[in-house]
Structure formats: C-alpha cells, structure tokens
Amino acid sequence: MKTNDVILQTGTKVVFFIIFLFSIHIFFAGHFAPGGGFVGGLLTTAAIVLLLLAFDLKTVQKALPFNFMIVVAIGLLLALGTAAGSIIFNVPFFTHAFGDFYLPLFGESALHTAMIFDAGVYLVVVGSTITMIQTIGGDS
C-alpha cells in the first residue's frame, strides 16, 4: 500500500541539519579531539542516507545536484595536492605546514595544511559512499 511519511519527512528536515552540523563539527574537531575526515565524512553520508530514506533518490538528486564521482575525484585531488605541494618546496612528500595566520574575519587562527588533506578525505568518503548507495538504490 502507498504510505505517506509525513512525520518522518518533517523530522528529517530538522534532523538532517543537526547531523550535518555535527558531522562538520566532528570533522573540524579532528586534529585535537576525536573525529576527523573519516568520521565526519561518514556522518555526512549518514545524514544523506537519512534523506534518502525519508524521501527518494530523485528528490535527493534534485536537492543535492552533485555527481558524486566527481566529488570523489576532487577529494582525491585535494588530498594528493596537499601532499604533493611539498614537491614544489623540495621537501619530503607530505610535509605539512602549519602556523598562526592573521585572517581578516577570524582574527588570529591556526591553520594547518593537514586540515586540507582531511577535507580531501572527507570528500572522498562522502563521494564514494554516496555513489555506492545511489547506484545500489538505483539498481532495478
């Protein structure tokens, strides 16, 4: 029988953002507290899965119009690029740089290239898991 999922869908709209924000939080926390790119990415995936559960593939595709394979590629490039940046400075691959910078909006803040790398990880995790779920879900 055809059922509506109004309760679920309404709840999801709120919950999705909570989870998403939480995942971003976990991602940024990574360097000093438990968390990081993986968990963050997976949690974002979980949020999107929730969307998929509550709505359907087509709606979610409309809401999040990314080609997730490209997201994977971008993530990989980001991660590789961070690592490979050191080639330019002729220091061993993967040498990270960090330091305190003055940024106009945030004031004094610590920046770490490892963060960019972790962002790459995040993107790859999200991209590939969502690709899998989308393709499986879209299989007939």
């Binding site: 968390g35 968990v39 979980a46 790859v124 898991t129 299989d139």
Partner: protein
Amino acid sequence: MEFVLLIFLPLVAALFVPLLYKRIKNIHTGWFVFVIPVILFIYYLRFIEMTMNGNVTTSTLSWIPSLDISFIAVIDGLSLLFSLLITGIGSLVVLYSIFYLDKKQEKLNNFYVYLLMFMTAMLGIVQSDHVISLYLFWELTSISSFLLIGYWFTRDRSRFGALKSMMITVFGGLMMLGGFVLLSIMGDSYSIRELIGNADSIIGHDYFTLALVLILLGAFTKSAQFPFYIWLPDAMEAPTPVSAYLHSATMVKAGLYLVARFTPLFAFSEVWVWLVTGIGLLTLFWGSFFAVKQTDLKAILAFSTVSQLGLIMSLLGASAVAYHVDGPDAIIFKVAAFAAIFHLINHAMFKGSLFMTAGIVDHETGTRDIRKLGGLMSIMPVSFTVAFIGSMSMAGLPPFSGFLSKELFLTSMLALRDFELFNFATWGILFPIIAWIASVFTFVYSFYFVFKTFAGKRKRQPLPKQPKEAPVGMLLSPVILATLVVGIFFIPNIVGKMFVKPAVVAMQFGLYNHPNEVAVHVSAWHGLTPELLMTLGIIAVGALLFLTMKRWQKLYEIQPQYLSLNALYDSLMIFGESGMNRLSRFYMTGLIRTYLIYMFAFIAAITTIMLFVQDAFVVDMDSFSALNAYGVMTAIILVLAVCMVLFAKTRLAAIIALGGVGYSVALFFVIYKAPDLALTQLVIETVSVALFLLAFKFLPTLKRHGESTAFRFGNFVIAAAVGVTMTLVALSAHSQKLIPSISEYYKETVFTEAAGGNIVNVILVDYRGFDTLFEIAVLAIAGIGVYGMIRLRLARKENSDENK
C-alpha cells in the same frame, strides 16, 4: 680473422632468404643458399694444415662478460673435422634439395631458413669451447630440427615426430646444462679446455659422477642411444634432404662429439667407460636388430643410423680406457679412438648417400614402402649403384670404407675382452659377442635395404608414380658421396693423417703431443686375425639370414606393441595429458570451499607446528593486564552476537547480529581508550547495515542449501583449527613483547612538531598520511567498482542479443 663470427654466417644469411624468395621467383632459392656452406667449407679447409701439426686456434666473442659467458670458438682436429663434415655435407644436401623440393609447391623460404639456422647451430656446437654457448647451440639444433621435422606442418605424423624429437633432445639438453653448470662450479670455469686442465680438482669432487651422468644424458638423447633413440625413426617425417643432413652427418653426431670432447675429463671414471661402451653396444645391437623389422625405407635407414651411432659410441667408450693403461696395451685403445673418428667419417658418407637414394626412390616412385618396391635396378641404375656402395660400406664389406673401420671396431671389442680393468674380465666376453651379433644384423639390413628395393621383380600393383631415373642434379650429391666411400677405402691413411689423427689428438687430450704420434696404420689386409675371421662369420651367417629372412621376420611380431619404448613414450605423453588431467581434476574441484579448506588447513597446521617446534608458545600471565569487568561483559555480548550470526534463521536477524558484533567491537574500542576508532566503527557499522538492507532487495533469503552434518563438521574442524591457531599465536606474541613500541615518539612530538592534539588523527593525516591517502583511494576504487558492476552489464546484453 674472427672465425667465431663465421658460425653465425648461415644465420645471418637466413635473414635474407625470405626476401630472396619473395623477390626472385625464377631462380630456386636453394642456389643462393648453396653458396653459404660452400664458402664455409672452403674456408675451413685452410685449417687442415694447422691441425695436422697439432695446433689449436681460438676466437672469442663475448656475450655476457660479467657472468663470464661468451662464445669461444676453438678449431682443433676434432672441431675442424666436424665443421668440414657439416659444411661439406651441408653443401651437398642443399644441392640435392634444389632438385628435390619443388620451388612452386613448397615454402622454400621457411625450409632454407631452418636449414641455415641448423647449420649455425651445428657449427656452434662443434666449435664452442664455452659450455654455455655449447648449450645454446645445442638447443638451437633441437629447435631447428623441430621446425625441419615439422616442415609439412599439416601432417599429423610430422607434428608428432617434431614434438617427440624436441622433447627428448631438449630433455637431454637440459640435463646436460645441469652437468655443465656442475662442471663449471667444480672446475671454476666455463671453458672446456680449462676444465680439462683442472681435471684433477674435478675428479675428486662429490658431484663428479652426477655431472658425468647428466652430460651423458645429453649426449645419449641427441645421439639417439638406447633408450632415447625412439625419436629418430619418427623424425623421418622430415623432407629427405633434412634426414640426410640431420641424421647422417650432423645432429645425431653432436652427441658423439660431446662424448669425444669430454673424454679427457671423464675418462678417469669407471662409470663413464661402462656407460658409454655398454649403452653404445646395446644401441648397436638394438638398432641393427630392429632395422630388419622396418618396412619403410627411411625407417630402415633410421634404425641403421641408431645402430651405427651405437657402434661409434662404444668405440668412444673403449677409447677412454686408454687413460687407464700404460704401455703396449694402451695402443689398442688408442686405436679405438682412431676407429671411432674414422667410422664417424665413413658413416657420414655412406649414410648421406643412402638417405639421398631413399629420397630419390621416394621422389620417383611415390612410395617408400619396401614391400611395394622391387626391381628398380634396371630403371634406376645410378641410384642403385650409389645405394649398393653405401649399403656394402655399411655392412662392412671390402672394398668400401666401412670395412676398414668395422675391422678396427672388432679389434677394439676383442681387446676389451682381454682387458682386466673394472672387472671387465668376467663380463668382457660379452663385448665381442654382442658386437658380432650386431654386425650380423647390420649385414642383414644393409642387404635388405638395397636388394629388396632394387633387385628382384617389380611388384604387381603399380607404384603411385611411374618410376624413372632421377634427374642429374639430384643424383649429383649421392654420387659424390658414394665416390668418396670407395675412395676412402683406398687412401685410408691419408684421410687418417689429415683428419682422423688430429681429431684423435684433440679427443685423447694429454696422451699425445703431436698428431703424428698416433701410431695407427690402417690397411685393408692385416693378416688372418680374429677380426677377419669374425667378418667372415658375419658374412656367412648374415647372408644365410638374409636369404631366409621371410621365414624369421615374423618373429618380430612376437613383441607386443605395448611393450615397446615407443609405447612408453606415448603413454608418458598420454599421462602428461589425460593423466595429469585426471590428477588435476581430482583436486581442482572448482569449488572455492575445497581450495579454502586446503589453504586453511595448511595455514593452521604449519603455524601451529612452527609454534611448537620453535618453542615459541609462551604464555606470560604477568604481561597481561588485569581482567576488566566491562571488558568481560562486552566479550560475552560479542560472543553471544557471534553465536547469533552463526545460528540466525533469517537474514535480518543475521544482519542485526553482525551489527551487534560490530557494536561490541566499538564497545571494546571505547573500553580500551580508542574514541576515534569507536566513532568510526559505529558509523561504519551503521552504514554497512544500511547497505545490507539496501542490497537485501536483490538477495535471496538465508538458506543452508542442504549442508549435511558431515559437511558442517568438516567446516567446524577447519574453523576450530584456525581459531585455536590464532589464539595461540596471539597469546605467544603478546607474551613476548621483546622491544618497546616506537609510539612514544608520537606522544612526545604530536603537539610540538605536528601541532595537533589527537594523536591518532595526527598519525592519520600527518605521520602516516600516506596510508590515508591510499586508503581513501581504496574507497574511491570501491565506489568505481560498485558503479561499474551495477551499471555495466555485458552479460545481459549478450543474452538479449542472442534472443533476437
């Protein structure tokens, strides 16, 4: 001049053959090829002067100098003799082939390429001083003969014969290589002459006899000795010029060459003398005996070749005895060496001519079946004459060259009887007896060959072709050879001086300083010696047997087919195919479970055995941390969950249970202070469960598929073994923490050097970021894979195509 390069001349020329064949259609390609051996022959003639003085010349071409591997060509009496035979008979064979092979019907380019390749190979063998290059050329002869025998590759018999000859000769070659390597280790050199120089250190070595046997295997297979001769008759599928070349003068002589070459090194060994002489005589007898059974002209010749090779081999064995004796006794064994070389030359001549006549008969009548032939004498007089000369020489009758060497052979065999070394005395009498019997049969098959073909009456049923005498060109080569056969009878000592004695000096290295010291004088008449009496006996008994042949030839049928060596080879090959197939079928079941059982059983067994054999099983209770209530409780939950996975009836229950296991593991991570892991494990577990639920749409329900109790018990035993092994190993490894971990460093530097606080995360993105980079790559590839697997379905497409 670097004459080592000349070895490669035929090979280089071969490169141009296809070109010439394609471009110049009017002239038979053979004419171009003919030039090569002729040039070489003339070139090598120049060295006769040198070798007659007992001198040696070398020429080196390095190949892999760092490994001390190079082509060292040596020209001494032995190699020169062979080189001349190869190029000389080679020229004649090419000449003969020009008329034998039709330029329109045959792929002449292939044929001559193979032939030239073969020529290079043979020259290489006989001139190589370096064992590795010798081996190289040795295998090259196997390959080129494979190609030559399989020249008419659509015929099944050709394919069979080619494969057989290659298998047997390559086998010998490989064993020989092993022997060579052993020698090179023992004598610390690859050069044969240096090895002979180091003979003292080699002889005492443990591997001496092994090396000897291995090298003899090479020689015996190549020279078609018992029991390896079986490839030779089947090799007769090759075009006749090839047979004439390979099986009279060249390939089969390579083994003899090898034995001759290594005589100075191995002669000290008793085993050598026994093996070489014994196998030689056995082959002589065996070949001659079975030659009479054959009905195919070329098969008769093949068996005769086998027997003649055995004869020469036994002479070579006898000649080795010369190293063991001094004084007057030695002379007879030195004569054996002379006889061996001399007979080798004679055999090349008469067998070459015989093969060519057999080819002519085949070519002109269309058949080689001796039962259909007869009475060709009047139609083909020249061929008959040639065949007659050749056969009589083979039978050892005067005034043909074979007589002389045959006499010398009998002399040597008689000498072995009297000789009391290695307990020959008891068995020694067998040597002359076998030699005599074999000679009788040699006589018989020689007559059989020539008279059944040419004499008697024409058979009633017509031959496939109207017989006529062969064209002059085709007759030219056999006639030249036949002339030589007769000629040598009258000038044996000149031949001896020019060719045989220098070769003997090279062969019995160390016994002579100069060829002239070889005190052998060959004469047709040397008094009424036992040898002569034996010859007379041979003629008498042989003639009798030949006349009564029809009556006793049936005796051969007594031997059942399945007892022959050929049957042995065939069954070996069949074993290699269907036997191995059955064997493989037995354990390659195609079921992954079987394979996994092999693997798990092996892993568990070998690890446990090692653990106890190496005394590595240690359980040090002190190293363990105290029991922890939460830990134990989590452990219980985990075990319960695992049991639920095992006994789940529905797939949903199984997945929940698996999730339960995952969560328990996460709990462990919490308990053991790994928050990052706990987080990751939790999320991953959930996403996995979601994936499972997603995939359940496409998956069947959980079924056991009738796993029997025995099946489950088997699984259980293997599983238990693996589980117990892991526990034992884990306990032992944990009890032996011999060196503290490197991870203190991370704790110290994480803040100061890496500007981070979460050590695990910093390890992941910084210290060991490389791992992470490729770990996400794995995830990305998995994504690609899933995508491709689901979206790309060639199978369905195929099916739908078929349905249309």
